[in-house]
Every structure is written in C-alpha cells, then in structure tokens.
C-alpha cells in the first residue's frame, strides 16, 4: 500500500537525473496501482494499513476501498501518459549538465502523484489535510513553470485560493477533534451527532474544498492557471488535481457523516454544480483561445460531479426498494464521470498543446488546416470532446446517462434539464474548435515545429481510453461497491 506513495516520493527527491528516475517510477507506480485494484477486485474487501502498526485512535490508517482503487488506477494511467508525452518537452538538452525547468517538472510530477495517492488512501482527516497540501505545493509551481508574468500571477492567485481553502479545512479538522477526540473517518462516522459543531465544521471544510475544486462561485483562479501552464502540466492539473479536493468532499459527506447527509445541503451543492455547468459552458463558448476554452470546460464538467450529492444520497422516497438501486446508479455514474473526464481532459489539453506547438499559437480562429497537418491529434481532440458532450459510446455518455436516469427515477427532474443542456453546450464549444480545425486552409500551412508521431500516439491512446470507458461500465461499478455503505445509510435515514 504505502510503497505507492513512499517510493514515488523518495524517488522524486533523490538524484540528479529526475527524468530517468521518473521513467523508472512510472511503471512501478502503475503496476502497484493495478495490483492494489486487482487485490480489492478479487477479495471484495477494502484494504487497511496501519502506519507503524498503531491502530486508529492513536495511529494513522490508510484505507483503500473501491473508490480509492479506481482513482489510483486512473491517476497512474493518466500520469504515465503525461510522462510519456512530456519526455520531449522536458528532457534535459544534450550537452548540458543540468537544466532547471525539466528537473523541477519531473520532481513536481512525482510530488503531485504522491499527493494524489495520499488523498485517495488517507483514512483520517488530518492525513488528508497533509495530502491536500502536498498536492497544492506540487500543483502551484507547475502553473508557473515557464516563469512569465501572467503565469506567475495565475500561480499566486491559485495559491491564495488554495491556502484559504486549506486553512478553512484545518479549522474544520480542529473542531472535529475538539468535539470527538479522533479524526479517523471510520471512527468518526460512528460518533457524529447532529449538533452545531458538526455543521460548522463541515460547512467550513466544504467551503474550503470548494475553493480548491473550483466549483462555480470560487472558480476564478482556474482558467488562467490551467490555460497558462505548459500542456503536460495543465493536463495534470485539470484532469487530476481538482479531483483530489472533490474526493475529499465526498469523503466528508458520504464517509464521515453519512447519517447526517441531508437533502438541503446536497441540493445546494448540486445547484452550485448546475450554475457551474451553465456558466462554464457559456464562457467556454466565448473564448478565443483553445486552452482557455478547455479550461472553462473543466469548470463545467466539475459541475456534473456535484450532482452526485443529491442523487446518490437518500432520495425523495426511501421506502420502496428501487430507490436504493438508483442511488447506486447515480454513484457509479458520478464516479465514471470523474474518471472519463480525467482521461478525456488530459487528452484534450495535450492535443491542444501539440496544436499550439505546431502552429505557434492557439487562437481558435487560426486553426484552419490543422486537421490535415496533425490528423491524429485533432482526432484525439474530437474523441475527448465526444466524451464531454456525452455522445455514445464514450465514457462520458454512460456517466451522463446514468446520472440522467437516476435524476428522473428519483423524481429530481430539474437536474436532468441541466445535464441535457450541459451536453448541448459542450457540443457547441467542441464543434467551435473542430469546424475550423477541419476546414481547408486558405493557403499552405507552415508548421512552426515538428510534432513527433509518438507524442500524437500517446494523446490518441488516452482519448481512445476515454472512449472505451463507455464499454466497460459495469465491471468498475462492482469494484466501486467495495467498502461502500451508501445504500444502508440511505435506508437508515
């Protein structure tokens, strides 16, 4: 269990050859993630590891349930693809001893990976705080890797939002510890009662984490930060880093206080998500630059994730046996949306990076002819876009269809309207890019840089992964049930 994060972090810190170390660590981490997922899949029980042999009231537990396993595998796959993609952009130039930016990039990549794994596995609230900080400190420098004034400002703004978020989260942790004397999630879930201190703590933590996840009212930092970073870094930030704090919100609401999850709070979160979908998509439609468009689309896609809260928590009527089934469907759909967005968005950001590299700019108006010059890249972008719109057979289609069915079946039809509208808007902004990209160029297109087919291949492979996710929805959903107690909690209410 621990090697995954421990090994990766140790390797990031050691040595003068960060790239080689990273390239060794990538397959090792990938195989460990698959091994853990396979183990959970076969045994159907969550794994628990007590650090140093101390049991929870005193020690720290790391837990891997089905959700952690899925997230670990997704993270490992996406990070491996990013690593392969970034080899050319961030290799140390020949003849020089040491270059700063590549070394820093590889170390940060490993640091973010370690932080993410710690977030997926952390079993108590304070460990999760530390993991979250590790993630932030890895992600912020990635934004400002090229050192231009705009990206420095974007990184600073991101850092200030993130710091405010984490200190609010820490305040919530303090209140939880003061009230119950433990921070272990499993122990807390048995102790919490509906009392003011819990509401204050959870409200503070949720508000802080929303700032880090860039949900609608607190999303301002995201577009400049994600659009300004180098392509490999924006893929990492957009696909995975924002998901870390989202999973923390899920852990708080569904695992720490499952018995107190109420519809008012869940509906509020989903309403913010709905606003995020509408605003993010409309703003994405208005962007003139490709990377900003993709960054705004991230805001919209994050909005979908928050539909998880009303749809997967206790529905309107709990008496009939069918509702339990629908919360399960919503839960699977939400997590599938998380995974398919991670894969599709990473592919789209890297495709945009290649396009920008080849053309020397990323203005949407100037894309004509690129479809002929870089067919694989544009195809990959289109496949990723299919997943965002929710066209079958992509992962995004199955995810959105599951959320939609759950919304209708649970009598929360108003969310289904937003899901459908979001799909239409997504189609709008994806076609806004594809139409000029596939049009014939006015004159002969001169490429600024040669883009190797290997990097195009990585992007395409990732986009095909996003597509194939739609074909295997049921197997992960079984894995997801491991260590989950949503249905029972819903019935208990």
């Amino acid at each position: 269990m621990v090697p995954a994060s421990g090994v990766v972090l140790a390797m990031a810190l050691g040595g003068r050859q960060p790239e080689r170390i990273a390239l060794v660590a990538l397959p090792v981490g990938l195989s460990i993630a698959f091994a853990i997922a396979g183990d959970i899949w076969l045994t159907r029980t969550p794994l628990t590891y007590h650090v140093g042999g101390w049991t929870p009231p005193l020690g720290i537990a790391l837990r891997a349930d089905g959700l952690s396993a899925i997230m670990m595998v997704t993270t490992a796959v996406v990070i491996c693809a990013i690593g392969l993609f970034a080899r050319e952009g961030f290799s140390v130039p020949e003849g020089t001893e040491d270059a700063r930016s590549p070394g820093v990039f590889w170390a940060l990549l490993m640091g973010v990976w370690a932080g993410l794994n710690a977030v997926w596995l952390g079993g108590d609230l304070f460990t999760l705080y530390v993991a979250l900080e590790l993630l932030t400190f890895g992600a912020v420098p990635l934004v400002s890797l090229d050192g231009r004034a705009e990206t420095l400002a974007a990184a600073l703004r991101y850092l200030l939002f993130a710091l405010l978020g984490s200190v609010l989260y820490l305040l919530g942790v303090a209140l939880f510890y003061g009230a119950y004397g433990t921070l272990d999630i499993a122990l807390l879930s048995g102790l919490v009662r509906a009392e003011p201190v819990v509401w204050v703590a959870v409200a503070l933590m949720t508000a802080g984490l929303i700032a880090k996840t860039a949900l609608f009212p607190l999303h301002l930092w995201l577009p400049p930060a994600h659009a300004g970073a180098p392509a490999a870094a924006s893929a990492l930030l957009s696909a995975l880093v924002v998901k870390g704090s989202f999973i923390l919100i899920v852990r708080i609401w569904f695992d720490t206080i499952p018995s107190l999850l109420n519809q008012a709070a869940a509906q509020t979160l989903a309403a913010l998500g709905a606003m995020a979908i509408v605003f993010g998509s409309v703003l994405a439609l208005r962007q003139a630059r490709l990377k900003l468009l993709i960054a705004y689309s991230t805001i919209a896609q994050i909005g979908y994730l928050f539909f998880l809260f009303p749809l997967a928590s206790a529905p309107v009527a709990v008496t009939s046996g069918t509702d339990e089934l629908w919360t399960g469907v919503a839960w699977t759909g939400g997590v599938l949306q998380l995974v398919s967005h991670a894969v599709a968005k990473a592919a789209m950001f890297m495709a945009a990076g290649l396009i920008a590299e080849a053309l020397g700019h990323d203005r949407i108006a100037g894309l004509a002819g690129i479809g002929r010059a870089l067919p694989m890249t544009v195809f990959a972008f289109g496949l990723g876009g299919m997943s965002l719109m929710g066209l079958p057979p992509s992962g995004g289609f199955v995810a959105k269809a599951m959320l939609l069915m759950a919304a209708v079946a649970e009598g929360q039809w108003w969310w289904s309207v937003v899901i459908l509208a979001g799909g239409l808007l997504a189609a709008g902004y994806v076609f806004r890019v594809l139409t000029p990209a596939l049009a014939a160029a006015d004159g002969p297109l001169t490429l600024q840089a040669h883009v190797s087919s290997g990097r195009q291949g990585v992007v395409l492979a990732l986009a095909i992964c996003a597509l194939l996710l739609g074909l295997v929805p049921l197997r992960p959903s079984l894995l997801l049930e491991v260590g989950r107690h949503i249905p029972t909690a819903a019935i208990a209410q």
Binding site: G147, A149, A153, L156, R157, L164, V167, L171, L175, G178
Partner: protein, 107 residues
C-alpha cells in the same frame, strides 16, 4: 472565564480578522499576512483543544500539539512559496498586484 475559553475566543477573533483581511484586501502581500493571521487563530484553537482534552496529571493532549507543529510547518512553507512567487512576479512585471484588468491596477 477560564483561560481556555479566553484563548478560544482569541483564536476565534484571529480567524475572523484573518478571513476578513484575506477577502477584503486586494494586495497579495496583505492577503498572505491575513492568511498567517488566520492560521495563527486556528493553531491557537488547537492549543485550546489540547488543553481541554488533557488527561489527569498532564499539561495537555499531545495529539493536537503534534497537529499544530505539522500545521505550522505547512503554513510556513506556504508563506515562503507565496512570498517567493510574489517577489518573482514583482521582478518580472514590476508590479505586485494581481488584478487582471489592465486599467484598475492599483485598486
């Protein structure tokens, strides 16, 4: 009023001041300072919790104290990172302001 209550109220006041400062002030340096104030309030709260949860014969519960140390390390490195970014931003662009609209630089 016991000492723990007094310190708890102080912590709450610091949190409030810090939050206000972080939201209201547009300048990044002030925001960083406000964040430290806010952090200080949270750490004081941890101290109060340690005091209240003390077992018989001990000065305080050690677990929150361990968490405060971790929190201080994190807050310190965060501040260092933020100040370094701010300095670099000043060196590169000549202004230490974050407002994105070109006309309202010194709001």
């Amino acid at each position: 009023m016991s000492a723990a209550t007094l310190y708890g109220l102080c912590g709450a006041a610091l949190v409030g001041l810090g939050l206000f400062g972080a939201i209201v002030h547009p300048q990044p340096l002030r925001k960083i300072l406000a964040f430290n104030l806010l952090g200080g309030g949270v750490f004081l709260l941890f101290g109060v919790i340690a005091r209240r949860g003390a077992a018989a014969g001990m000065g305080g519960d050690p677990v929150p104290q361990a968490m405060v140390i971790t929190g201080i390390v994190v807050a310190f490195s965060a501040t260092a990172l933020a100040v370094a970014l701010l300095l670099r931003l000043y060196q590169v662009s000549g202004s230490a302001s974050l407002s994105s609209d070109p006309d309202g630089g010194g709001r």
